[in-house]
Amino acid sequence: MRRYLTRKIITYVLAFFVGVTIDWGIPHLMPGDPIQNLLSRFSGLNSASYAALYHQFAQAFGLNVPLWEQYLNYWKGIFTGNWGISIWATGAKVTTLVFQAMPYTLALLVPAVVLSYVLGNRLGAAAARRKWLDNTVLPAGYIFQAIPYPWLALVVPYLLGDVWHVFPTAYGYGQGLIPTWDWTFISSLLDHWFLPFLTVFLVSLGGWSIGMRNLVIYELENDSSRYMRALGANERVIRRYAYRNASLPQLSGLALALGVIIGGNIVTEVAFSYPGLGHLIFEAITNEDYFLLQGIFIFIVVGVLIANFVIDLVYISVDPRTRLSMQGSTT
């Protein structure tokens, strides 16, 4: 089992390395000069002052040294927390911007992922044993699985916001408010949080429930279940074991789906103008701010890696085989 962990850790380290390298490489492979774009904002520059400014900015952004040195500096910057300066929010540090946006993204993502996963699994397991529930959960699940993220992020706010006026449909909090920790602000936060949360939650729910339903049915047909039935075990006990067995592939599926879920979250944030990382990415694209874009990319890669690691740990604690063999290797 030490082998299992070592392999996982090597994968994580390599993935981080690949992520950083891609992140560094893409802007350098791409056409266009960010400093020229930046200087085009200034008016009335003659060629001498243009050259001087160009030199100044190239030095400030570290673009005046050979490529390999830029690459090493990039790594150094990542470990020392120096992720560059945003061009769009002139002078603001990339890390500051990212850390400002992150709480909003996490507040959407974590509850939506956890709730849809837990409820979806319960729903799917329930559907596997009741015909009437199966006949409603299954078709509904297929439809929810088939809905494109951006469409749900338009239809839900249209109905609940623009037609019935139940919830606000844009921004992280009321735009007339100043962020302070008082009750008006917090209730405004929750009010604005609900719809984006609902769409991310709904779109994942169908997938988990259908997956769980299929797995539980498969497990109930399994030889181990048949054997227990032959021994005269209570049907409830058999189902509980089936559910446990079925949650293992669901759990590794969760790890695999993280990248896709985060992508969907970005779409949702853009559709709702929700001030999280997704929205920040959008600002970075429209303003051609590649330091910011790079910073967010690394941040998301690290986030996915950490989440994967957490799921690995949960997996070890849930799966008796991995757990026992780990104890076995130490004793």
């Binding site: 994968t11 492979l29 699985q145 998301i300 890669v301």
Partner: protein
């Protein structure tokens, strides 16, 4: 694209899930129909036809899919206006003149939607085919050779899965001035092949130790021909299901990319229509006919694909048929 995952309950490291919300068929490895001889194959095909024509899910799914395909093919021909043309009648409700109404600039929504539908089919096809080609090649190699090569390829697969594809296409797309449909499709293929590779690798692993493969080895066949002639046919049905699901998830992914504006710039797509509607405040102004049809059609298309897929699974897999 949500994600769901239902896969072969086996070793934790070899799940066969497909991204983008789509449930993979529950295809127990041991349940792969192993038809060894040529005579058995012909009988199996007529069996598939027999059960296929009697499977309601398959018939319904394929019918809806064919109708939508027909709409994507003849829609742009019967549309009265080109997709970007200004008709001079802004924000018309749906009616006999404009079937799906018009945008605030007076463009025909019906024409845009059917053209977008055609684009979705193309992107889905390119994405699924390129993912299948890369995934099958690497999956066969990893499963057949095993050893160090397998370790390396698995590592690569795990790393690609962890890269956030949407952010990556945004980073790449923001530097390309005019990404086209082919770029989008191939990019989707390049980021989704791990799902195929995992499935193919796991199946190859169990098949390569079967007697008929040993026999082929003894008779001096070369590895490529063993893989193509002996191993691939035995997982053909399973592979087909995986590719069908990838087709659906590619279309959903493309809709998200287009919505964010990193998709093709020279072409109408369903995601682009939704983006335009959102940008022009169609929600606040209650122009529902502008953003409801593109998403509803795409939902119908992918849902029909999922239902047909379940039907196909039942046809291919005798174990599921009995239920």
């Amino acid at each position: 694209m949500s994600e769901s995952v239902s896969e072969v309950p086996q070793a934790p490291d070899t799940p066969g899930a497909v991204p983008g919300a789509l449930a993979t068929p529950v295809a127990p490895v041991a349940g792969v129909p192993i038809g060894a001889g040529g005579g058995g194959r012909a009988r199996r095909q007529s069996d598939f036809l027999y059960y296929g024509l009697r499977n309601k899910k398959l018939i319904i799914g394929i019918t809806v899919e064919l109708l939508l395909l027909l709409l994507a093919i003849i829609g742009p021909i019967i549309a009265k206006y080109p997709d970007q043309a200004y008709t001079g009648f802004p924000t018309q409700h749906p009616g006999s003149k404009f079937w799906f109404g018009t945008t605030d600039a007076g463009q025909d929504v019906f024409s845009q939607v059917v053209n977008g539908l055609r684009e979705s089919y193309l992107v889905g096809l390119i994405g699924a085919v390129s993912a299948a080609v890369i995934g099958m090649t690497l999956g066969f190699i990893a499963g057949w050779r095993g050893g160090i090569l397998d370790e390396v390829l698995q590592m690569l697969t795990n790393i690609i899965v962890m890269m956030p594809a949407l952010v990556l296409i945004i980073v790449i797309g923001s530097y390309l001035s005019h990404p086209n449909l082919l770029f989008e499709g191939v990019f989707i293929g390049l980021t989704t092949w791990p799902w195929v590779a995992r499935a193919v690798r796991a199946q190859t692993f169990t098949l390569r130790s079967r007697e008929f493969v040993d026999l082929a080895k003894l008779s001096g066949k070369r590895p490529v021909s063993i893989i193509v002639k002996e191993i691939a046919p035995n997982m053909a049905s399973y592979l087909f299901l995986v590719v069908v699901l990838l087709f659906g998830s590619s279309m959903l992914l493309a809709a998200s990319y287009d919505f964010l504006g990193v998709g093709p710039t020279n072409q109408v797509s369903l995601g682009w229509i939704m983006q335009q509607a959102s940008n022009e405040a169609a929600l606040q102004l209650h122009y529902w006919w502008w953003f409801i049809p593109p998403g509803a059609l795409l939902t119908a298309m992918v849902a029909a694909l999922l239902v047909a897929n379940v039907g196909l699974d039942e046809v291919f897999n005798p174990k599921l048929r009995e239920q």
